[in-house]
Amino acid sequence: MAEAAPARRVAAGDAAALVAILVLVALAGWRSLGYGVWSYGEPGPGLFPFLVCALAGICGVVALAATLAGDAPAAEIDPDAAQQEGPMMWGKLALYVGVIAAWPWLMAPLGFVLSTAAALFVVLRLAEGMAWGPAAAVLVGTVGASWLVFERILGVPLPHGLLGVG
């Protein structure tokens, strides 16, 4: 006897991402036409981007149709999924994202040492919940070692900022 087919579920996140991609390639494709696709019997600067946007668009529509029909690939492309358990930790994730977003804007005014120390403080103490002692040890060790290796040994001119050291 044939087994009952599992119920098909539309992956809303997948569909939203594919719609976003379709909007992006539609805009890029339209812009490509403005660069000139063909002129004087020769390919223009817009031809190649227009063709690749068309490829992404056509395949995107096919992928979206399959997703809406409940035919999205079963497994996430996530090498960590098998190693993890429990619910999503949105707060921790938001702290990491915040650090990644803010770090580049703080590097120039604060300098490498202070901005890295601030980023590591947020990650180690707030996101990872590490105790003060180990967090301070990791912070000082990481900032010191990376400053020594990159600024002093490799000669990378790291931003100096408030402290006047890279």
Partner: protein
């Protein structure tokens, strides 16, 4: 001069103390910069060019080429341990190498990568000595149409690397190709998709994107949920226990052999070289395997083949440079500059006029690969010990590593911001089942694709028929079409059978 006489002369040059010293300096620097994301061999060799003014030309080229193939090995260390490819050629190694590390088999993954690279190095050196001048004649027959077809084939291969749906991979290939067009048009020089910003005029940087899509995205992936007690902590400690077992060797022998030959052949062609070779080898091993489902879950063949292929290709790329004076990639272009600084014009006459340099460099590659093994195998426990660092410490370390790596490329905080952006995008891609690997590989091949595609159309008077009129191009496009249609044909062939079964 015959090959044997040339090799004897080469050994005489490469085994001199000064040459050995420069070789060891080159492979050590190469391994170090391979491990550090951001600072690639091109940047390092460019930075060291002024130092070579005062060196003997043979010693200079031996050191600079040591940096190149040392970086190929070094980049696989971080790809396996923390899923950050130091170089584009190690992107494929991330797939199964990292999965092996997660399952307590980081040692065998690193070991087979080192031994595979060594064996490939020997095969490639023998190939260069025996067939170099002959094979470089084939490479010269590649015009724009042939390159276009080769890239099309490469991109179809890319979609097979991905474990997900082929249509979704093609979406990512399209996006990657589009991303490669951001910046100045390579032929007309006009701006495209720069949004009026200065930093986008130079286009996006592969190292920045790779660090974001793989390194930063990995940190976010690790942060999203609680980790189970990890098998990463259960790695053996003694060097003997970290080496590949007999079973590993039996599984890896054929992939290493095939990867070496494939890498050598593809390395002769200008363009992707080591990168194309690594993913072509991965796809070939997956197709040949009786258990393709193991690929992506820590199959040692998925490390042995691509690692051998990228090393063989890196060395084979010296053939067009030394025999024809044609640099097959950016690193070879910089090396060509180093030769010209010393008043040496690489080309067909190099073998006659500078036999000590030609054969010395070739033999030094053999010596350099031996040095890599001698240096790296005893260091396996040190590399594996990195995995015992708890995730809550490792994640911030990876972030600092990526931030400094991105900043050091152009001393720009904008690069750090772009890397962060791609990190968040890369994490999002995983969540919605869109594989970042085809995106990145298509991005790398994009500029060569566009340039050769447009040149072909110009040569063909605007007609796309030029791609079908050239025999090599036609053969490559036919192979690409077959690869593209293969899954569809399989599905059609399976349908009547499954219909009968129900």
């Amino acid at each position: 001069m015959d090959i044997l006489g040339g090799l004897v002369q080469g050994f005489g040059v490469a085994l001199q103390p000064a040459a050995l010293l420069h070789c060891i300096i080159g492979v050590v620097i190469g391994t170090a910069i391979g491990v550090l994301p951001g600072l690639g061999p091109t940047a390092t060799i460019s930075l060291l060019l002024p130092i070579t003014y005062r060196l003997d030309p043979v010693a200079s080229i031996i050191m600079l080429s040591g940096i190149y193939y040392g970086a190929m090995y070094g980049s696989s260390i971080t790809a396996i341990l923390v899923r950050i490819p130091g170089e584009a050629a190690s992107i494929v190694t991330c797939i199964d190498g990292y999965e092996m590390a997660r399952r307590g088999r980081a040692g065998p993954a690193l070991g087979i990568s080192a031994f595979g690279s060594f064996i490939a190095g020997i095969v490639a050196t023998a190939g260069i000595a025996l067939f170099g001048p002959l094979l470089s004649g084939v490479a010269i027959r590649f015009g724009p149409a042939e390159y276009t077809a080769l890239v099309v084939l490469g991109l179809i291969l890319v979609t097979h690397v991905s474990g997900g749906s082929m249509v979704r991979s093609l979406v990512m290939v399209g996006l990657g190709l589009w991303a490669s067009t951001i910046g100045l048009d390579p032929i007309a020089g006009s701006e495209r998709f720069t949004l009026g910003t200065l930093f986008l005029q130079d286009g996006l940087d592969i190292a920045i994107m790779a660090m974001g899509l793989f390194g930063v995205a990995e940190v976010l992936g690790l942060a999203e949920r609680r980790l189970r007690p990890s098998e990463l902590l259960a790695q053996p400690r003694r060097t003997r226990d970290l080496l590949p077992t007999g079973a590993d060797w039996r599984a890896s022998a054929a992939p290493i052999g095939r990867g070496s030959l494939l890498g050598f052949a593809l390395g002769l062609l200008p363009g992707g070289g080591a990168l194309v070779a690594s993913f072509a080898s991965y796809v070939m091993e997956k197709r040949l395997s009786r258990t393709p489902g193991r690929f992506g879950t820590g199959a040692i063949e998925g490390v042995a083949g691509p690692e051998s292929a990228n090393n063989a290709a890196a060395q084979a790329s010296f053939v067009p440079l030394l025999s024809l004076g044609i640099p097959s990639n950016v690193v070879m272009g910089v090396l060509m500059g180093a030769l010209m600084i010393h008043g040496i014009a690489p080309g067909p006459m190099l073998m006659q006029q500078q036999p000590a340099l030609f054969w010395g460099v070739i033999v030094s590659m053999l010596v350099g690969n031996l040095m890599l093994i001698v240096l790296n195998v005893p260091l396996l426990p040190v590399f594996v010990a990195l995995l015992r660092i708890p995730q809550r410490v490792l994640s911030p370390l990876i972030l600092v590593f990526c931030v400094v790596g991105a900043y050091s490329l152009n001393n720009s905080t904008t690069d750090v911001a772009v890397m962060g952006f791609f990190g968040i995008v890369g994490w999002g891609m995983r969540k919605v089942r869109l594989d970042p690997a085809p995106f990145l590989l298509a991005f790398v091949l994009g500029s060569l694709f566009e340039r050769s595609f447009r040149q072909s159309l110009l040569i063909g008077g605007g007609s796309p028929m030029i791609f079908l009129q050239k025999p090599i191009s036609l053969a490559l496009l036919t192979a690409a079409a077959l690869l593209l249609l293969l899954p569809l044909l399989r599905r059609l062939a399976a349908r009547p059978a499954s219909g009968k079964a129900t």
